[in-house]
């Protein structure tokens, strides 16, 4: 554990100035991921700039009925927010399915989005890992990869993104607002996280020094009927083996609106666009749900230990959609 300096930023611009000028500086949110990495030697920044106390700690309703979620809002507070629970239940459910009460009380929105993979080799500095040490190799490809990716991986990295919240945000087509040395920009959730390709060290498309200030949700009435289903090794406090965030609107037995994102299967929250296409405008039936899930998972390339994720994801998608239909009092 390398010694570091700790400072508190005064406002977002000050934070950016403090980090952008120092290549070895890092933002500190709730610290539930970064501090572990400091101890483990996975990260060794020389300077921490605490952004958890900036005035980015509010959830605000937008004029158009959407929401603006401050980057420093704690996961517990966001999950409990009445608008979130009412208008975007999938987001509240995803947050509550993550980590533990204590961790959610500390974790921030931005920190959650930018938490790093739980790949065991990545977290163990005595083993190689392309993400931690570019070019050192990826022992997971032929190693203990039960929890790792089945979609969109590369020979250089097969890690998964661990966040539950991010999966819900992907299904909701959220925008991420960031502030950099050259000003503010908005990044659609789908473009925030990357697939590993031949540059697995880069988790996201953020430029060095960019600060996440907010996450914005456009209004989506269909999302009132949405759900998060997390399949995991124990009832609580475990990362997803696979997870499904789904929004479903059915009218007269026909799918009007559907959004599906998967967690635990790829280097980023996986938007299941093929499945959505297969469903939109079609009859809402259990067989149709299953066929759509299969269409999405046709591209799966399981590793030596995780072939089970394919049927697990298929069944989880099907069951989640079935559940949403049931909740709407319709039959599937």
């Amino acid at each position: 554990m390398r010694p570091f300096t700790y400072e508190r930023a005064l406002d977002p611009a000050d934070a950016v100035a403090r980090v952008a000028a120092h290549p070895d500086a890092a933002y500190l949110g709730g610290g539930t991921n970064l501090v572990d990495h400091l101890r483990l030697g996975v990260a060794a920044p020389g300077r921490l700039v605490d952004v958890s106390r900036l005035a980015l700690d509010r959830v605000e309703s937008r004029d158009d009925g959407g929401l603006r979620i401050g980057a420093a809002v704690r996961n517990s507070d966001l999950a409990a927010h009445p608008s979130v629970r009412h208008d975007f239940p999938v987001l509240s459910q995803a947050l509550l399915a993550g980590a533990s009460g204590q961790i959610r009380n500390m974790a921030t929105t931005a920190g959650n989005l930018l938490q790093r993979t739980r790949c065991r080799y990545f977290q163990d500095v005595t083993t190689p890992c392309n993400k931690r040490e570019p070019g050192s190799g990826c022992p997971a490809v032929e190693g203990r990869n039960r929890t790792l990716a089945i979609l969109g991986a590369s020979e250089h990295c097969v890690a998964t993104h661990p966040s539950d919240m991010a999966v819900a945000l992907a299904a909701l087509d959220a925008d991420v607002v960031v502030l950099g040395p050259s000003g503010e920009r908005r990044i659609p959730m789908a473009d925030l996280h990357r697939l590993p390709g031949d540059e697995p060290a880069r988790d996201t498309t953020l430029d060095p020094g960019e600060l996440i200030t907010a996450v914005e949700l456009a209004p989506l009435p269909a999302a009132r009927r949405s759900a998060y289903r997390k399949v995991r090794d124990r009832a609580s406090y475990a990362f997803a083996l696979v997870s499904v965030a789904a929004v479903l609107e059915v009218e007269d037995g026909v799918v009007r609106e559907v959004r599906i994102a998967l967690g635990g299967v790829a280097h980023k929250p996986w938007r299941a666009t093929r499945a959505e296409e297969a469903l939109r405008g079609r009859e809402a039936t259990a067989e149709g749900f299953r066929a759509a899930a299969e269409a999405e998972l046709g591209a799966a390339r399981p590793l030596s230990e995780n072939a089970f994720k394919v049927p697990m994801a298929r069944n989880a998608i099907t069951a989640t959609l079935r559940g949403l239909v049931r909740a709407a009092g319709e039959r599937a």
Binding site: R2, V231, R234
Partner: protein
């Protein structure tokens, strides 16, 4: 299914009192200080200007340290010492490979201690450790346990001094002529104990007197054992090593014996005489250095006649040990006397691998062994078309099959009957027949067992302090079980006093010798010593002693114990729900009924049984130390990845026991309760999962991927 006879009385929350104190659900005497955070554990003991030690661990699984560059670390402000094999003091005794720390450049497993950095703060020590550059000559290693490993060998004996193999009667012939035969392989994975409090110590080496002395605050299940080991290894006189261990945050066997870190911290203290050196293992380090349960590969063959009476039983286990020290888990010993059989064979074979040293983990032997045996019994019941409860009742042996001795009290059948009643076992349906919405529902059952153990050698001291107050001294440990309280109850009754007149001191080698708090033997061993010391005290000093009157005594001889086969038994019933889509398993209900002799404190006993069952559930569904054999070490070495149950996984656990006193083993009538709860549970869960889904998962743990279709 036929279950006959009226169940005997069942003890529940608070059983009938035996003495005024014994048998009462007395609250833990140390509960208040613990929940208020005021109990000082080993690492929290006050020490003047302490130094902090951080380990250096090998990053190869086999080889030699070829070069150490400590210059950067030594230059760091606050670093007091970098200790490696190059500058370590020599040890006096190197007969035990685990305790032979820093005596050579050799590396026998990945994560082995190759040095340490001692500094004025834990942060500097940790940073310093990162700056030490160690190079290795790496040799090829082997960490994978295989049934067909050509180097498997039969140890001289297995843990707790049991014979390695037994062979009674023509078992192959019996199997050949059986109407029904089950022949299956079962496996249990490597598992790590993980008590909440990590292994920690503060060691101070004092050279200011004529002879050097060593004082160690340690988190241990046996202060005297730590002291005698350290004395031997370091070449000190036993009386010059004092070990103090007031509170212990769990051990589960991993603190039953000292480990390499105890020797290391003593070596560092010796190099910095007069300065207390503190060490707390990190959670990650506990996956290398604090013992673990070996993986087991078991093959069980059981033959039965058409009525389900066992004709022949073979239980074989293949397990691992380390190259530097042998530990042989006694996995198949349970099959030697659990059920009647005309012929039987049991065996253990070991592979010595480039792995850390395995050791005791709650119910070593019985926990994995009862999984294999009881799962096979479930399969036998299915093959015979018999109810699994009935199958066990039919094979209940009238006397110990191994020795022919009478049982001191075998009440397995009652446990099964009472449990079946409490659980509602008669509602169990055929395989795969019950569904509740998206959940597949199943019931399962298995037996539990654990031997009644008494360890000789403990001594207790009773001293009258005046004004009606008595001190009772014994160097025993309370590792969170409540034994401090329960031993106090024994002393109060034996002296004929209210509990608040008795002041029990434990956890210090300055007190009379006590055996390790392990093998579920604490109450039988330490309680019996206290009982006898109190009896003699009254004999010698009467009811109105002079202040200062003192009596010291070991437990009374109890020759009768040898004439009986003494085992505790239990029955566990489990309901599981398996998500039909995802294979996730939930366990809404567990019932455990135990027969363990007298229950001294129903409140703390209940926690022991329940805790054991929770751990059995954990073994069934979660625990699994995942090794990457290319590197040779456990990859999921923290509690985020090494799963144990959360509150949400543990729902309704119904614990009860038979009212019983077993005076054959010891005058207290107890047989021990610490470990039995974990035995059989995993087989009951597997049985229930099969009942729900029709799927036999024989390799633990039963994770969703084994069930999803």
């Amino acid at each position: 299914m036929t279950l006959t006879g009226t169940p005997p009385a069942v003890g529940t929350a608070v059983g009938p009192a035996v003495g005024p104190a014994v048998g009462r659900g007395v609250r833990r005497l140390d509960g208040r200080v613990k929940v208020r955070g005021m109990a000082r554990y080993a690492f929290e003991q006050l020490a003047e200007s302490p130094a902090y030690l951080h380990l250096l661990q090998s990053t190869v699984a086999r080889g030699r340290v070829s070069d150490v560059d400590a210059s950067e670390a030594e230059a760091l402000e606050g670093v007091l010492l970098v200790l490696t094999h190059l500058n370590s003091p020599k040890l006096a005794d190197t007969s035990d490979g685990e305790y032979t720390v820093l005596q050579s450049p050799g590396v026998a497993f990945r994560g082995q201690i190759v040095g340490c950095v001692v500094a004025t703060s834990p942060e500097v020590a940790r940073h310093g450790a990162e700056l030490v550059r160690i190079r290795y000559d790496e040799h090829p290693h082997d960490t994978r346990l295989r049934e067909d490993d050509p180097d498997l060998y039969a140890p001289d004996e297995v843990n707790a001094s049991f014979p390695t193999d037994t062979d009674e009667g023509p078992v192959e012939e019996a199997l050949r002529s059986s109407a029904v035969v089950v022949d299956q392989r079962y496996s249990t994975p490597m598992e790590h104990n993980n008590p909440m409090e990590p292994h920690s110590c503060i060691a101070t080496w004092d050279e200011s007197q004529e002879r050097p002395t060593l004082t160690v605050y340690d988190s241990t299940q046996g202060a005297h054992g730590v002291a005698s080991t350290l004395a031997k290894v370091l070449g000190l006189a036993q009386q010059d090593v004092r070990v103090i261990s007031p509170y212990v945050g769990g051990g589960f066997g991993s603190k039953g014996l000292p480990h390499a870190h105890n020797v290391l911290v003593a070596l560092a203290a010796r190099t910095l005489p007069g300065r207390p050196v503190k060490l707390a293992l990190t959670r990650q380090q506990m996956f290398f250095l604090a013992g673990y349960r070996t993986p087991t590969l078991q093959r069980v063959r059981i033959g039965a006649d058409a009525d389900g009476r066992i004709t022949g039983l073979v239980h074989e286990a293949v397990e691992q040990t380390s190259r530097i020290k042998e530990f042989a888990e006694q996995t198949t010993v349970v099959s030697r006397n659990m059920y009647a059989a005309r012929a039987r064979r049991t065996s253990h074979r070991l592979a010595a691998l480039d792995v850390p040293v395995p050791s005791w983990m709650r119910a070593p032997g019985e926990a994995p062994g009862m999984y294999g045996l009881e799962h096979a019994m479930d399969e036998l019941a299915e093959a015979c078309g018999l109810d699994p409860v009935e199958l066990r009742i039919r094979n209940d042996p009238p006397a110990d099959p191994e020795t022919g001795k009478p049982w001191s009290g075998r009440h397995l059948v009652e446990c099964l009957r009472v449990g079946a009643e409490r659980f509602g076992w008669s509602r169990r349906g055929p395989t795969g027949s019950r569904r509740d919405g998206d959940w597949l529902v199943g019931f399962g059952v298995a037996s539990s067992t654990y031997p009644g153990n008494v360890m000789p050698g403990s001594v207790a001291r009773v001293r009258y302090g005046g004004r009606g107050h008595y001190a009772v001294h014994i160097g025993a440990a309370d590792i969170g079980t409540g034994s401090w309280t329960a031993l106090n109850q024994v002393a109060a009754d034996a002296l004929g006093l209210a509990m608040n007149r008795v002041h029990l001191e434990i956890g210090d080698t300055a007190l009379p010798m006590a055996t390790v708090e392990g093998g579920s033997s604490g109450m039988a061993s330490h309680g019996s010593a206290i009982l006898e010391a109190c009896r003699r005290f009254r004999e010698e000093h009467g009811e109105s002693p002079e202040p200062g009157a003192t009596t010291e005594s070991a437990a009374a001889e109890h020759p009768e114990a040898k004439e009986y086969a003494t085992h505790s038994y239990g029955a566990q019933f489990v309901e599981v729900r398996v998500d039909a889509d995802t294979g996730e398993v939930r366990v809404p209900r567990m019932v455990g009924v135990f027969s363990c002799g007298r229950i001294v404190n129903p409140r703390t006993a209940r926690s022991q049984f329940r805790g054991g069952m929770v751990w059995g559930l954990s073994m069934a569904l979660f625990e699994h130390s995942i090794v990457d054999h290319r590197f040779g070490h456990v990859m999921n070495h923290d509690l985020a990845d090494y799963h144990v149950p959360t509150n949400a996984d543990v729902v309704d656990i119904d614990v009860s026991w038979l009212d019983e006193t077993d005076l054959h083993l010891n005058p207290l009538g107890v047989r021990g309760i610490g470990e039995i709860g974990i035995t059989g549970t995993a087989a009951a869960v597997a049985s229930a999962v099969h009942n729900a889904t029709g799927i036999r998962v024989r390799d633990l743990p039963i994770t969703p991927d084994t069930l999803v279709r």
